[in-house]
């Protein structure tokens, strides 16, 4: 008798528990769905707020001046390329093409110099032993954290003494001496993760260290080097303070300075010219980012195995 009542107790308890569990599961499923919907809603909302200014910028660059401050939408009512045509002309004797060319002249040697010098230095740090190595590597991290503001004035005085003002040399040379500690650090970390078997083999086969660097290490480093170049490209494209301090003649202006100049000199209500040139100014960096996105990921994951 007791057994039977006990069994029925157990049974009802079991059924209750089952129902409870099902209800719980349903609630959880609903919660998960609500949570997912909420997450998407927040992400879409934030994404819209994040990207709308840029979308608006592109739209506004094709608007008439009267429409820019009257229409919050991004589709121009009367599309016009007037902003691009007149903005490209600029108020200087040069077109914006000249300023893009100047930017290119700054970026190309700087990037090549960065890639070569940082590779050498990273190779030295990762594969050799020498006196003061610890101290020197600490200095890389110190430079990484050192605010530029404290060295800028003596650097200016130095370049002035060298007669380098109003030339691209102050922008090129520090980078070509592996001055961008971030890249050195990144390449050292990358190299340390690659075993040096291949290099040993090359040495046994009679390569000297330069040949090993050039024919064994550089190919393995390639993905990391590509991201070094991409970062340097984007940073230099956006750099404003460097050219502002060192470049004074308009014919040597890179786009960042030219854009600032066009704000200062364009008449107060010709907004679409400035917006159009702003669009052109950010296009190279965005294009490089979207084309090379996979390199950033590949550079991190596949680098060591490929070689």
């Amino acid at each position: 008798m007791t057994d039977i009542s006990h069994a029925s107790d157990v049974f009802t308890a079991g059924a209750d528990a089952l129902a409870e569990a099902r209800r719980h599961q349903r609630i959880q499923q609903r919660r998960a769905r609500i949570s997912a919907i909420l997450r998407y809603a927040i992400l879409f909302g934030v994404g819209l707020v994040m990207l709308y200014p840029l979308i608006w910028l592109v739209g506004a660059s094709l608007k008439t001046n009267a429409e820019i401050f009257a229409n919050p939408g991004f589709i121009p009512r009367e599309p016009t390329t007037e902003g691009y045509v007149q903005g490209w002309e600029t108020s200087t004797p040069y077109t914006f093409g000249r300023f893009f060319w100047n930017s290119f002249l700054i970026i190309l040697p700087k990037t090549i110099g960065t890639a070569i010098s940082c590779t050498m230095v990273a190779y030295g740090f990762a594969r050799f032993d020498f006196p003061l190595k610890k101290l020197l590597f600490t200095s890389v991290i110190a430079i990484l954290l050192l605010p530029n503001v404290v060295t800028r004035i003596p650097q200016y005085i130095l370049f002035r003494e060298l007669g380098w003002l109003d030339s691209f040399l102050p922008l090129w040379v520090p980078s070509a001496m592996a001055g961008d500690a971030f890249f050195v650090f990144m390449l050292v970390q990358f190299l340390r993760a690659i075993p040096d078997d291949m290099e040993q083999a090359a040495r046994v086969d009679g390569c000297n260290s330069w040949q090993t660097l050039l024919f064994v290490v550089v190919p393995m480093l390639a993905p990391a080097l590509i991201s070094v170049c991409l970062f340097q490209f984007m940073w230099t494209m956006n750099d404003f303070l460097g050219p502002l301090i060192y470049i004074s003649s308009v014919d040597k202006y890179p786009v960042s300075l030219a854009l600032k100049l066009s704000i200062d000199t364009t008449e107060a209500f010709e907004w679409n010219r400035i917006l159009a040139m702003s669009v052109l100014t950010i296009t190279p960096a965005l294009a490089v980012f979207f084309m090379a996105q996979k390199y950033f990921i590949e550079g991190i994951s596949a680098g060591g195995i490929k070689g």
């Binding site: 998407y40 004035i153 592996a178 956006n238 704000i263």
Partner: protein, 293 residues
Amino acid sequence: MTRTRSLGLIYLSPYILGLMAFTAIPFLASFYLSFTDYNLMQPPKWTGLENYIELFTSDRTFRRSLSVTLLYVFLTVPLKLAFALFIAYILNYKLRCINLFRTAFYVPSILGGSIAIAVLWRYIFATEGLVNMVLAWFGIEPVNWFGDPTNALFTITLLRCWQFGSAMVIFLAALQSIDKSLYEAAAIDGASKLRSFVFITIPLITPVIFFNLIMQMVQAFQEFNGPYIITQGGPLKSTYLLPLYIYDEAFKRFDMGYASAIAWVLFLIIMALTLVAFWSSKKWVFYAGDKRS
């Protein structure tokens, strides 16, 4: 062996030369210059502590600039980090198109300090600009973003918070590396989402919080492009951050000694805060290695 020893130094030679010429010597030189009067025409004239005494006793622009800079940093860095962490937390979930979102949120960071973006900000926050047009839909009166001292600094803070992408990417990578079973165990023990966020997520990602904090702080103290283009330091010097003041003193008035003194004050503040962060990190940063042992 000695051959290899010198060989390593040969590979390092560009770095060592650059370190000396562009960092170490300039660093010491600016310290020296901060005790001098130097206008590039005559050789530097030693004036002892005069620059510093002037800065802290009679220079009202400096006092204003310093307080604005501190306000800017203490406003921007926590807001940006909190926002970056929040978005990374939402992204760290089995969502479709996570890569798409990640890219979208990263795009503003790519443009970084670009002048074009500062220009865009000027237009968006203009009295008749996009932001006020949108606010009008909600029945909010147009805000005078650049005319009012409090608002002006805030627009620059917003610009930098808008670029939370790189901090977010670092947070996201850290969140993705957390062992999921920890959350499952916590859920079985009845912990709410919020509790497991506070007691599991936060402690496990303290190393990257620390890293982001230092990087963003050093960067925020050196903000130049935003205020230079958007507000030119105004109104009433409410966005006249120290780097702007240094730039004006050094490259407009060519008062290199005085500018160096301001630069050194800024440097010492950054260094003091960095050291405080490093020192306090022993108490709040947990490294996975410590726990396992």
